[in-house]
Each structure stands twice: as structure tokens, then as C-alpha cells.
């Protein structure tokens, strides 16, 4: 499609990229007072970043309200980096605090940011690792969309017998394979720090590995067939359609019906796509997530368009040779 060759598309892609990198790395993590208290009481971590609005200040402490409306008194101690002297009621502060159960209050450790443009919501137990949410999950979603595109093009090829649909199916499936591999790599890095190992044959990991094999077989089939172009394209299209039948099963069903460490496994509710149809994700994180999905989708569409055009040129060259 011509739109992917326009400068407007490239500008949009550049802007989406800049926004995504900003959201992923520059936004400070800001939780609630409840998060800070719970994480300290459960022995997960002593110090937690909290985002709260300053209500009032006295000599050595200040009263805040977090985004849930819960109030918390945060005291300045000898170990604190910073004081409230330069802030006014209404200012939004992101600060590291430590919960003190004896007085049910908080000690200020450090003021991280004042009036931030955006904050990254706290995902309990993940900390900074939660930022991978803007890479791993959108990549998986785009992989699914790419395989869906590939299948639709394969169906269209079988109906219309136009070789261009075959090229598009091949390009879209290649994009899907690439994004599945990227989601597997980012997931594996996440697993290293959350589960302690890069790979442990969790049902989620195994199902995605099988999916990669199924699509690797699609490309092998294409390169090994020695039939005529039409027959080759027809066999590949039929295989692609059959391969897609396994995608929802391997991506969504298997990890949800088996005992898995992955969110959504073993009967637990997945944060975004789950059986109850409700998202268990902070609204601001969901907004960031959709921006990432749009970015990766644009990258996929560009890759698909480039690959299709390369295949078109290759076929044209082959025609001229024979």
C-alpha cells in the first residue's frame, strides 16, 4: 500500500517511537500508599516509590493523598534526601517512602520527581521490571495480528488466485514470526529476573516454542517445494490457514488451562485478556500499552510492505530471466 511509502507514515512512526521510548524509560514509577505498606509488611521491599498530591506541610512532615484518595503522613527524617520547604499544597510528588508499621506512617527516603507529566503505575512485585510490559505484551499482540493478516491473505489467494496475495501472506507470516521471536526473547529476559531462569519449559514458553516451530515449517515448506509456482502457493496457503488454527489455541488457551507461572495461568486472571472480559491493569498503564501496540503495529506494517515489494521485484526479475 502506498501509505507506507509516504513521509507522513514515517513521521508518525518516528513520533510513536519517541513517545514509546519516553513512556518506557523516562516516566517514574509511582505507586500508592497501600502498595508501600503492603510490600513492606509482606517483606518484598522496604522502600517503594509513591505518587501523591501534597495536602499540607508542618515542621517535619507532610500530609499527602495518593491517586486512590488514601491519605498518608510522610515524615522527613535524618536519612531523607530533600525536604518539603519548596513545595506547595497541590503539587504532585513522586517519592520513595518507607512504611513504619508502629506509627502507621511513612518516612521520606527521596523525592524523585515533582509534578511529572506521566508516571508508570506500580505493578506489585515487579518494580522496574514492569516496564517490559510495554515491549513484551504488545509484541505478542502484534504477532497474533500478523498471523491473522497472513491467513486472510492466504484465503484471498485461494479465492482470487492472485500471486500478490501469496507474497503478502508470506511477508505477514514472516512479520508474525519475527514478533513472536521478539516476544519470546523479551519474555525470556523477564523470566530471568522474575522466575530466576531464562527458560524453564513453562506451558506458556512451550506453547510459544511449538508455535515458532509451526511457522518455521511454513517457511521450510515454501523453500523445499519443487512444484509449479501456482501449486506451491496453493499448498503454502492451505498450510498457513491450518497453522493459524493453532495460534489462538497455543497463544491463549493452553497457557490458561494449565498450571503456569505466567499471568493468566492456573486459573488466575490475566491482566489484559481474560475470561471475565475485564482488564486488571491501571488505566494509565493501559493507555501506554495501546500506544506501544500502535507503534509495533506500524513497524510490522512497514516490514510487511517492504518484504512484499522485495518479493514482487524478485518475481519480476525471475520472469525477465526466463
Amino acid at each position: 500500500m502506498k501509505i507506507f511509502r509516504s513521509n507522513i507514515f514515517l513521521w508518525c512512526l518516528g513520533i510513536a517511537l519517541a513517545v514509546q521510548v519516553y513512556l518506557s524509560f523516562e516516566t517514574p514509577i509511582g505507586g500508592s500508599f497501600g502498595d508501600a505498606a503492603m510490600l513492606k509488611m509482606n517483606g518484598v521491599q522496604d522502600v517503594t516509590p509513591v505518587k501523591a498530591t501534597l495536602l499540607s506541610v508542618d515542621s517535619s512532615s507532610a500530609l499527602f493523598a495518593d491517586f486512590y484518595g488514601d491519605s498518608g503522613r510522610v515524615s522527613v527524617t535524618n536519612g531523607s534526601y530533600g525536604t518539603y520547604s519548596s513545595y506547595r499544597p497541590g503539587d504532585v510528588l513522586v517519592m520513595s517512602v518507607e512504611y513504619q508499621p508502629t506509627r502507621k506512617g511513612f518516612d521520606l527516603v527521596e523525592i524523585i520527581r515533582v509534578n511529572p507529566v506521566m508516571t508508570f503505575p506500580m505493578i506489585q512485585g515487579l518494580g522496574e521490571l514492569g516496564r517490559n510490559m510495554l515491549f513484551h505484551v504488545p509484541m505478542s499482540m502484534v504477532a497474533f495480528i500478523a498471523f491473522l493478516f497472513g491467513t486472510i491473505y492466504s484465503i484471498l489467494y485461494l479465492i482470487k488466485k492472485d500471486f500478490d496475495y501469496d507474497r503478502r501472506a508470506r511477508a505477514a507470516s514472516a512479520g508474525g514470526f519475527l514478533f513472536t521471536a521478539l516476544a519470546t526473547i523479551t519474555g525470556s529476559i523477564w523470566a530471568r529476573f522474575s522466575w530466576g531462569t531464562f527458560w524453564n519449559w513453562d506451558p506458556r514458553e512451550t506453547s510459544i516454542f511449538i508455535l515458532l516451530l509451526i511457522y518455521a515449517a511454513y517457511f521450510m515448506l515454501r523453500s523445499l517445494l519443487e512444484e509449479s509456482d501456482d501449486k506451491k502457493a496453493r499448498i503454502a496457503a492451505v498450510y498457513n490457514i491450518i497453522a493459524f488454527v493453532s495460534v489462538p489455541f497455543l497463544m491463549f488457551v493452553v497457557p490458561r488451562i494449565t498450571q503456569s507461572l505466567h499471568p493468566g495461568g492456573g486459573g488466575t486472571e490475566a491482566p489484559i485478556l481474560n475470561l471475565s472480559g475485564k482488564t486488571h491493569t491501571a488505566p494509565s498503564l493501559l493507555d501506554m500499552y495501546w500506544i506501544s501496540v500502535v507503534l509495533f503495529l506500524m513497524v510490522f506494517l512497514w516490514i510487511k510492505d517492504l518484504y512484499t515489494r522485495i518479493l514482487r521485484l524478485q518475481d519480476k526479475q525471475a520472469e525477465q530471466l526466463y
Binding site: R5, G14, V21, S24, F25, W302, R309, I310, L313, K316
Partner: protein, 41 residues
């Protein structure tokens, strides 16, 4: 070493930005060459 440990997030951010930039430049290069080839053929 101390700098890397205290600014780990920014180091990761810069590396990922460099990877993105490299990828974009690579794809943009392919795009330009393809346009040229498409015009020629």
C-alpha cells in the same frame, strides 16, 4: 562501573533507543533502495 549501576535504567533506555534508531535507519535504507529499484524496473 558505579555510574552504570546507579543509572541502569537510563543505560537500558539509551541502548534500546540506539537499537531502535539502527533498525529504523536500516529499514529506511531498504525503503530508499526499493523505491529506486521500483522506478528502474
Amino acid at each position: 562501573m558505579d555510574f552504570l549501576q546507579h543509572n541502569a535504567l537510563y543505560v537500558v533506555g539509551i541502548i534500546s533507543a540506539v537499537i531502535w534508531l539502527g533498525l529504523f535507519l536500516f529499514m529506511f535504507g531498504i525503503e530508499r533502495r526499493l523505491r529506486k529499484l521500483e522506478k528502474e524496473s
